[in-house]
Amino acid sequence: MGFIELHEVTKSFGNNTVIKNLSLSVEEGSFLSFLGGSGCGKTTTLRMIAGFEIPTAGQILIEGKDVSRVPPAKRNLGMVFQNYALFPNMTVRKNIAFGLKIAKITKQEIHKRVDEMLALIHMESYGDRYPHQLSGGQQQRVALARAIAVRPKALLLDEPLSALDAKIRVQLRDDIRNIQQELGITTIYVTHDQEEAMSISDRIAVMRNGRIEQTGTPFEIYNNPATSYVASFIGTLNLLEGPVVDAARGTVELNGTMVRTVSDLRGLEGKKVKLTVRPEALSVARDADAGSYPDVNTIAGTVEMVKFLGSTVRFVMKFGETFMFMDRFNNSQLVLPKKGDPIRVSFAIDACRLLPEGDAIAMPGSGDVEEMVH
């Protein structure tokens, strides 16, 4: 049994059902992220766990106890909000001490605990400042300290970094992860930023239309997406479409070139399928290698665009009517091709997978490439 469990939870606002039969189990001490686009229900789910929304149906269990109708003040869960929600009339110290005073902890203990929290967030000298005298990142650190000062059963974070600029986000997300690991506190984190979710989570629940599409480690979600939506939502994806010519060998024809996959194509003989391959799985093939490796696909096309992304360089290539991305690590010896240069790329057949049935969101390789090419 998980530390926090949701059993077939449904939430409706009037006629609008925003969460549909959602079930989930969160292990004690783990860090789970709800990841999804706007309106997918991730914040509503978090708010139900916090007690700010009551499920229309289903149960929420914390440590095996049904808390579905327990008010938020009685759940002992720490919450961090997107816009910090620090009390403007209180100093940093008083903000952190607020929950401790409510819990009627002794003055000495409050003082000690506040000092510990200030040290944890590296803001020892900011105790007497008011929230409006702090930067956004500092305010969110204080909000985090305030939430964990009361030693909650779990920590809930609702897009805590989305109001901060890029550099602070990266720094603070690492801090959140470090503090979570140091305290071993069960944490549920809501974000729409896949990079953020992948970098700090033990597990990710990808949500769409009020349902969980897939739950897994960042590695599983990225490398083995269970649905077409997850495949297209997480990371960048190349999409190769063509008819199955040899289902037994997993061969698909792509603009006259045979491409093999390890995915099971049985029963799809002659049918058009979509194969996916990540940009980082592609590499430039040498002519001498052509046909040398049976487990490697090689296709030839032309360079459409080269995009410098800092640590990586993205090649946009055209194979017949199909656009593909290839990512290479940046280094000073890298020779960049020009538009129109012929190019041959290769990728392992086990990097090439059948796109699961279902509707994907805008696929990289179509819309994104169009945008880049034109």
Binding site: F81, A85, F87, Y130
Partner: protein
Amino acid sequence: MKNGTATRKAMSWFWLILGLLYFFIPLISTFLFSLRGKKGVLSFVAYQHVFADPKFLQSFLFSLQMSVYTIIVGLVLIVPTAILINLKIPKAKPIIELFSLMPFVIPPVVLAFGLIKFYANPPLTLVSSPALLVAGYVVISFPYIYRSIDTGLTSMDLKVLTEAAQSLGAGWLSILFKIILPNLRTALLSATFLTFATVIGELTLAVLLAWPAFGPYMAHVGRDLAYEPAALAILSFMMTWGSISLIQFLSHGIPGAKSEIGGLH
């Protein structure tokens, strides 16, 4: 480029000075007129007459007392209502806002006759009670109190602060007294002083309900005397400005607070 900036600056000064003249010329004229109580010299004799009249202090103290009751009743009724509407039933906000405009639309004379007609007979014979006057004043002050409080609540992000406090284990009383009211101090002060200013000078309700308030006293003095009404006008103006200065002074030092007058920042 330099010429353009200089012209814009000159125009700004021109409009500022024009605005100040528009505001201060009548005020200075009234003040100077109030000093002409003694022929040939400028003196404060009109002010001496005003202060020497026992009815001045009597009516002022009565209105002050009524304003205190109005403020207490108004805040006790409207603050929880505004909090409830902002937190739980935001859909009712346009309805309450519409209601809050009613005192501007319905003349006080209609309100006064309505109150007299409704409360003149048993079972609720309140027409001779000052409670009816206070009730009427609460209605008249409703827009000022509600809008001040509502602006204060909107600017403090009430819902998120309440949820943050709840997640830390706070009950409703703690939330109200430790979070909402301290952060609403400026709005409460605005509401208080606007109500005070409204009640102190109110005429119609006090006249029709036959109470010796400051408004009827000023009207009476204005009918019979020449310089004393000007002195009273200046005194009223000073009281209003005194109230505004007090808001500024008391809200000074509230973290993140900005003074709000009539629901405006």
